[in-house]
Subunit: 319 residues, 4 copies
């Protein structure tokens, strides 16, 4: 990495939790220089040494790549504008995740397609953890597609954004826990199912239920997998080891299960497995944990950017 | 209720979280008078106006009924001693939950057997929520026993007791979330399965995974139920309404799902249901919430005691 | 208390945290019947069994007394309307706290004036704790008025209200702690100083600094008092004992200091004192704790109402 | 910094919260190589890629410098052993803080003495924040030494260590707040007073009261300073600016006050000031915040080590 000429980068949408994290990571990145960062009501303020400008005033011409943490529905328009100006882009919103215009940026899975990509759609936080946990089993034909895969996912509050809403007040969230978006129609589900089918050949049923945790950061997913055959603990772990052995940002635990504290402030997914006793048919419980703001958003966006630009994949990241 | 002659009651094991809650509730109970409360290292101290004595010094002769929150394995011995002295007892430990010596005290389900009971085994906290959520469906033949029922349960930290352990320190638990006891061999599972079979005729497979929440109190269980037939939301809620219409301590939500804040500090289970879309076979997600220290322990013990003694069922309780 | 004919009561402003607590306590009060409760955007919803109406639709004629938890600036107008309709009132806002129209309702201090009062101004949360801690020392001439009294107060988040604001989001407050309103011009200061002068003859300098705690409920104040003479621990505690011996809602600790968990969900102030070593002139540190929603607001309002109506002072309250 | 030959470093006491932080920071330090890290019961386990050994097995000969986070009373003995083996040392315990054997390592204040130091005593967490806040005022003769300086300090739970104790359980600390060690005889007080006298010429009275916050990390100190003369806000801030202008790890806020979130996970002290209105004599309130594990312990130790070794002062640190 040539640290004498860092890549000029622009951040769109720097005032939300994901945008703040992007800016925090990029301003310490040894191979990138933040040329601009945008915000609406906070324009004019300084964050991590960068004076925020309005998105319409962003000097696109001066950067090589933009990373957008603008809201869903808004991001797409500005990313297209950047693309029209000839800039590469990583979009952290959901606007391109199901679109053929973009390469899906689940780094460990789609890495070979990233160096040539002009536009990368950064995965959703919930799908990132679920996909990295399920794809190795799907690719090995281990998931019994005649039975449902059940995913109970719990996320820290920053996953719900920084716009003031009563239900996100400390007085409401502290000492509470609840499911939300029940009914299996979460907006992340199509992304999850499409990617499982495309990358893992899995077309079975999924039941996905998100929950709101009284923590700031972190996602933990408890994934119940019906198996096509009996496996033992070593075999189950071995499958993950084989797939992820060389991955700097995946940690497969042996005989242990991850918790949020293993992953917060890191660009890491931690995965642990447990065989299920006392049932008639073979099943595995897989637990996957990420920091929703890092591997689930800003960190993975930078990991993708690094690969796109030919920088060391973990530059600027702690895995 | 004759408030001029309250029933003399003894509490064994008053220094843990459950015991403290028992004492807090009983000292305000209009129909009960706490004659003694026991503790080991805290003997001699005063709690809620009661001077604690060692369990071996408890004046059993002076009470009509004892409630024991002693630890599993210890409680049985002292409850037997009380029984030998001719006293009725509610045991909050797991020592009699699978024993024919005791009536299982899931009040809403086993109420008719309580007035004549000499010894009542108070249910575990996790089974209380799961059973009240699953039994109506099981009794209506709605659960497809050829598919697994998956229960992801999350409990506040007081459920793990008050004995100092590193993993329960604030510095470890705050901002964290994790599964524990994975592998489907939790000590509550036999109680849960035995009761589902006995009271609901359910003998299918269960996958039960407990999690530790960074909150003080409360259990929320997300229960994934495969159905024998398609139902609509009104039918699903109607089943619970029919079973629990007259129950003072069960709250069936309509078109909404419970959260911990609906139940903490109350002797209440709150239940909500959601149909599962985007799957091939009919499924229902049921969410049940209780306060682990109240409906999951001390409150239900008092509810059982009230029925045993012919007191109003909710005397001393807020449902 | 004649429980056969409970006093008809109206609650104005029931959707904020204080209003919810009022309603929670009043609906369980053995001597009161909630005839109406008002809310603006939540009108039509049911809370604790009461259907909320808009304040302009409140059936004032049907109640004997109103308790208002409306916002500062708004409450005064509606309380005056209730007074014009011949109703007695307890106003929980700051609108009458410095006004000669109202009796200041610090129950332990102004109790004799309450039975005849038509309008009672309920004290602010911070002043309640500070006044109950300082007045005994002031009345005994123990405070050295030539030196400043320093009060560092910390409050749970519900003290800041339930209106969504970014700075009150869980993602901002959790794991944080900060002072606010620094500079000694907090809006509670005039109330505090006026009452200390009127009831305690104290006219010295006060430095009051509030802080925001990452908890839902509770206020703890650390009060640094310069003394006119040396006292020992027993003397210091004895002064409080003498003043508060018969008080059901004041708890003076001996050789110990209060924490929030001693007071939350209770209508209680807990007070502890510690002599200050290693300084040249005599000083005392007094710690006072209350639940900001109970003794700091709704509970004390009910305590005042009870005295106004001739009901037992702690009816409906847990002290 | 010569990153081709990092300095070989040993960590003694790596299993507590401070030791873990040391290891986390040092293993990412571009100019240091962790040769060993010690733990007692956790010996044999791997932490941040380092296999822990028992302290008596530490290969002292292979390092150039040791950093000790062993407990007070134990650390001194092992640090002396390292010194006897000819090794330089930074001791994070209190064992040498008042000893002439060691240079006191408050980096911003004692920097010139560090390059030649063989043994550096790392300051306590509370004194670090208090000293950096008070010394500029003391050095400018602004503190009125005839009146007491009052410090109310609040610390996150990791400041109390990782040894299991009931009072540190999540079930006890969450939703609580309390003072501890009241009475002005905290073990950090002599260190604070001695340093204020030596470096600032301050010999007046201090009242120091620590509190326990329900957060994992961070210390906030609210410091009440009687002034010798009236100053305005710009003058007060200007004094700090003048002293700290070139300091990479001190952040003086303008017209704002720090909160924990400004400093956690950073090796930074943030300082803000507010004039005190409504009092007869001039006073200033100074708020200082640090991360107790970073600038209050492990981070400052590394900052000191960097200066001792001639490395860039902030190598391996985020300020």
């Amino acid at each position: 990495m040539n640290i004498n000429s860092p890549v000029p980068v622009g951040v769109m949408g720097a005032s939300g939790y994901v945008g703040q994290e992007l800016l925090r990571l990029l301003t310490r990145h040894p191979g990138a220089a933040v040329v601009f960062a945008t915000a609406q009501s906070a324009a004019g303020e300084t964050l991590d040494g960068v004076t925020l400008v309005r998105v319409d005033d962003a000097p696109l011409a001066r950067v090589e790549i933009v990373l957008s943490a603008l809201p869903h529905g808004v991001s797409g328009r500005y990313v297209r504008e950047a693309r029209a100006a000839g800039k590469r882009a990583v979009d952290l919103s959901s606007d391109f995740r199901l679109s053929p215009e973009a390469v899906y940026g689940l780094t460990e899975v789609t890495r070979p397609r990233l160096p040539a990509a002009e536009l990368v759609a950064n995965p959703g936080c919930y799908p990132t953890a679920a996909l990295l946990a399920l794809l190795p089993l799907a690719q090995h034909g281990l998931i019994d597609q005649s039975r449902e895969v059940v995913i109970d996912a719990a996320s820290g509050v920053t996953g719900a954004g920084r716009t003031p809403r009563r239900e996100l007040l400390f007085g409401e969230v502290a000492e509470d826990f609840r499911a939300y978006g029940v009914g299996n129609d979460h907006r992340h589900l199509p992304e999850l199912k499409a990617t499982l089918a495309r990358e893992g050949g899995f077309t079975g049923d999924l039941v996905f239920t998100p929950h709101l945790l009284p923590v700031k950061r972190g996602i933990l997913e408890t994934i119940h997998v019906p198996l096509t055959r009996v496996v033992d603990q070593a075999t189950a772990e071995g499958i993950y080891d084989a797939v992820y052995a060389a991955e700097p940002c995946v940690r497969v635990l042996r005989g242990a299960l991850p918790s949020l504290k293993d992953v917060v402030y890191r660009n890491r997914v931690a995965i642990g497995v447990a065989l299920v006793a006392n049932v008639r048919r073979p099943r595995l419980t897989v637990i996957a944990a990420i920091d929703n703001l890092v591997k689930g958003a800003a960190g993975q966006a930078i990991q993708n950017m690094n690969v796109m630009l030919g920088l060391p994949e973990t530059a600027g990241l702690v895995c």
